[in-house]
Symmetry: none
Subunit: 195 residues, 4 copies
DNA sequence: GATGAATGAGGCTTCATTCAT
DNA sequence: AATGAATGAAGCCTCATTCAT
């Protein structure tokens, strides 16, 4: 397999995102992706072991970048409140700016098979970790409840954010996702903060 | 098409749930479902127009019952707090008791194709409606925040509950889902309540 | 198998003609024919051995009646010219009056499988025989050519008549078939007569 | 879809003709045709959209060539008598030389479904046109009857020729079709000519 | 490295026929 | 005699993957 460095590696991944967003997971045949990437069908197999490998790589690449950006932005601010705000803002911002990616991650990729889902689950753990670190900081600083299960808190944060994005995608992105940063932040802070 | 009344209608749906839970959405062939239901392949087409129709019917039937039970239980109590508690409790309870159904609704059915997902979305609206009614009651009674978008509140409630169940399923149901009723309820009340 | 005498025997055959004319040979399922005949699916198998048997019986019954009528009418006149005229007239007349039957015999039944076609061929022989008898009379009376192969003459008569009807059916019976009796008779007489 | 130029396009069509002639229309499964053409099942779908498309293409290709040859041969002679003779001769000659094709066009393809039959009808129009042009020439030259409907004349010519071939095929080609060119020509000339 | 024609396994669905009532 | 729910065999087509060029 060729190293990832090549232009084509990213061209294929981007083509996959576009094709899946446009035609749906079940209509994203290898041939279609190859045509969109302007390579031959066989070329895809020089860069990826299988179609599954392409999809996993796609999710991993995009997710890693996604998390990296959130993480980087969070490190620029100090208080846990600001960090949570940045997390929600960056999450919404990135998907609002790349609507194809939003469709793919919120809807289409969830239709993939078990093995892919498992690996996606593994990739998501990094993001979950990030959220749990944030929660721990909040608890340490005495700002968040101490008795609550961190996992449950994380599930609330991720669940709320994820459901908000999914609803927005399902409504065909007809409203401004970023306008929901504020209310979502408010609700989550309310839920978590130690009064 | 034969009427739904027959034993076989439900036998087929139950067989489908079991086969999908066991083998996954993409390995739930009609032949497998038929064998599990102890009918011939063709018999399925006496009760359902297509495999898609079977899956949609499955979800609609189970979801309708699900919502009916939650709705019924909620009506037995008065305060909005009790209602929210019952909602979470019933949601977790029903899926904890029918783990095959949990796998199917949380994981496998989300892999279905666009058309099925659309109809599933329509069915879910009933549940969303139920939650929003509950929120409105809370607002009317002056217990919940008034300035917040009801949709965002609903997304938080549903997103948190759904993510909690999905995480539990992904962890292969190794812990007691019902033990999370209390903390989830606490967090959600915290988030919503007007202080 | 029940005897043919019953009402249902003919009800089923007539239903078959109607269903095939309406929906085409490949969409004439047993269930549809049964419903049209107002009997149960299984009842058909009390009167016919198989669907093929029904179709063969249908053709044989209709064909026999058809030929009988032509034969009877021909016997009422003396000269071979009058007989040929009656043959063409009766052929066109009967199909013009029963357009469903016309569709079935000219178009749909020709789509049936090999075995049915073979038996249909056998049934057609009676009609061929009738035509050849007529030709022989013409030759004997010194009115038709004597050197020509009777089979070729018969093929011309039948071929011309049959193609004329088929063309009419293909044109959705938009013109009056009976207006073609005269010209077809004229052409055929021209061809055959000894000058 | 790959272009028709490839060897395989014709290999598949020829295989289809052979399989249909040998096993009959209803027993000409895609798998059988593929095996005969020595390609994989899927390969057929690189060259044809569907099985129907293959059958239509088959008929169109063979029919077009057929008509082209007849047309070409007719143009080599001047008088309408010679042209009619060539038409009959070429028609019989081509089918006598390719008996598989004869079986397919006279018997099996007529068993195809409505859509295929419609397109076959359209293709046949070219041939009908050719015959009618010939008739018009005969009339213009004062050799054929002028009062007769050209359509009826064409139906006689085509009907007689077609029935002659069909009878020959049904008799399992046990006699020499070409020996019928002369008598058929004689009969048709007799019918049409202005005396 | 790149191509793209060829492969072939596998599944949904139809419908003539049966048989318990 | 009549019913009609149940049967199950059989076929068209898709598409991820390969490999000769």
């Amino acid at each position: 397999m060729v190293k990832k460095a090549g232009d084509k590696y990213h061209a294929i991944i981007d083509a996959a995102v576009k094709v899946i967003a446009e035609h749906g997971y079940h209509n994203a045949q290898v041939t279609k992706i190859a045509r969109e990437a302007q390579v031959a069908d066989g070329t895809i197999y020089l860069y990826f072991e299988s179609k599954d490998d392409l999809l996993i790589s796609l999710f991993r690449l995009k997710m890693t970048r996604f998390v990296e950006k959130v993480k980087h932005q969070i490190e620029l601010v100090d208080t846990v409140e600001q960090k949570l705000y940045q997390l929600i803002y960056m999450h919404f911002k990135q998907l609002a700016m790349d609507q194809d990616l939003a469709i793919v991650t919120q809807i289409e990729l969830r239709q993939s098979n078990r093995d892919i889902r498992k690996l996606i689950g593994a990739t998501l753990k990094i993001y979950h970790q990030l959220i749990e670190d944030l929660i721990r900081q909040g608890i340490d600083e005495g700002k968040f409840h101490q008795q609550l299960d961190i996992r449950v808190m994380r599930q609330m944060i991720f669940g709320t954010i994820d459901e908000t994005v999914t609803s927005w995608v399902m409504k065909e992105m007809k409203y401004d996702l970023l306008s929901l940063v504020q209310p979502v932040f408010f609700l989550l802070m309310n839920a978590l903060k130690c009064k």
